[in-house]
Symmetry: C2
Subunit: 324 residues, 2 copies
Amino acid sequence: MTPVDDDGDGTLVAGVDLGGTKIQTIVARGGDVLGQARASTPSDGPVAVAGAVVDSVHASLEAAGTHLQQLSAVGIGAPGRIRDGVISHSPNMPGMQDPFPMESTVSNGLGGVPVRLDNDVTVATLGEMHRGAGRAFSSFLSVFVGTGVGGGMVLDRSVWRGRGAAGEIGHMVVKPHGRRCGCGGRGHLEAYAGRASMQQKAERLVAAGEHTVLFDLMAKHGRDRMTSGIIERALEHGDAMTERLIARAVWALGLALSSSQSLLDVEAMIIGGGLAERFGQPFVDRIAAQMGTTLFHADDPPAVLPAALGDLSGAMGAAVLAGA
Amino acid sequence: MTPVDDDGDGTLVAGVDLGGTKIQTIVARGGDVLGQARASTPSDGPVAVAGAVVDSVHASLEAAGTHLQQLSAVGIGAPGRIRDGVISHSPNMPGMQDPFPMESTVSNGLGGVPVRLDNDVTVATLGEMHRGAGRAFSSFLSVFVGTGVGGGMVLDRSVWRGRGAAGEIGHMVVKPHGRRCGCGGRGHLEAYAGRASMQQKAERLVAAGEHTVLFDLMAKHGRDRMTSGIIERALEHGDAMTERLIARAVWALGLALSSSQSLLDVEAMIIGGGLAERFGQPFVDRIAAQMGTTLFHADDPPAVLPAALGDLSGAMGAAVLAGA
């Protein structure tokens, strides 16, 4: 399991990474993961999702050999806007574009255990700060490159949230009038480095007559989305289109990080998400090299390193949010 | 004089805005400016500059009807990198590319009065935070549009300095492979919105055969630089090139502010410097409108307003740095 430190205060907490397709839950004490559970996210509305979160907490407690009476708090990270325990504007969660009181609903379902809800990327950033690659730094920018691209900022060992929506590095403009982003904007980082946008670009290139093994691989492996595993296999096949898509993603990431660094001057950049998990340091090094070509203080670059918590970063961050 | 509040602790301080062409000094108690002095910056090296700063503090004290024995501290804002009272990498100050101990040299020249030195833009941001347009906000980004473009960040009522070089919004990339910046980079905000770059662009356009009244106006008014006053007169003449240069500057500022806001989600943007002082709210409104076209959370934009301290922002900020 992921290496963690052991400075927790001994209370037992649950951390829930609530995503559009799966719910990953851990039960932890300090940095120690005592049990975990994973379930699919129900697609029939927020009440069903809250119920599945409650069930997954119970399943994790059982896996840890303990029970609800021992649990002091639950943390949840979820995509979307979070204010006062209410989730809204969640792009991938059915029925959660409108406000839904996730915090109180889950707490009621768990007999009143305190629940803290925060944005999934903020929570993953908290995890990296306390239990992952950010432990050595007082300031860093985190970037999670997945279906979309999100980020977080740790300044003076605190997550900077702005008015509640800070860290949207995926929606920095890297190319004026450039590729259309999922949000409707143009030339955003996410339009080049998010896997959903990369897949759409590949579809447009194929429609224009270009060749790739990407969609054959997706069909062969039963995927309807261009996962990082599919991308890796395509690169192993020497697929030129995939290499071009990745090169463009690296270019966009380097540019956004360089502009961010001009503004923030942080000690480190921490890169997580599917592609970073799969390709690790070599991928991160390519981004760092690209960043270096446009960095203002090129003689004094920040450290650039992969996130350390991998697949459990969201759940571990949620456990930190709950007091682990 | 500039409206100021009156929450100072009663100690008498001097604030020095040390620029490449002039030294503006004030003597202040709290927010009240009691005396001021202005001198040209010597061009014969850092020791002469430090001497001129000492003289200007004396001249301000005299204008305020007081003397050195009453002075509790001096603040200085200067361009360049500042670390531990030492200035270096100062682009416009003769002999200050190499490190020079400005803080101790001025302090010795003033009989040991404590001196605090910081970056000019940081200091101007401090001024706006405590005595200017930033008083109502807990977080804002300041942008000073002058010969170059610099900025500062106030987060939770503290200036964020990063590792000492934060706030370089002028060196965010707004257009990949775009216009050459004074720093050597390409497509930086400063390459479109800094007056030095705007002048160079105008020179290239004239060399390519295009017409403008800009250089005639500079000759007529005895200017070797394209000041904001020259720009204003050219616009009054309906000069199409000047309008294009300004439109491009507004475009670049809007884009950089929109990307910055995606990252930071601050409450306000405060725009200062020569062009903002001269054109005020209408100029700032153009930038805000441009920003709005690419803002990620377009339904919840930050306030955008002109800096309030005008020409004295640097000196007032330096006085704040000294404890005013």
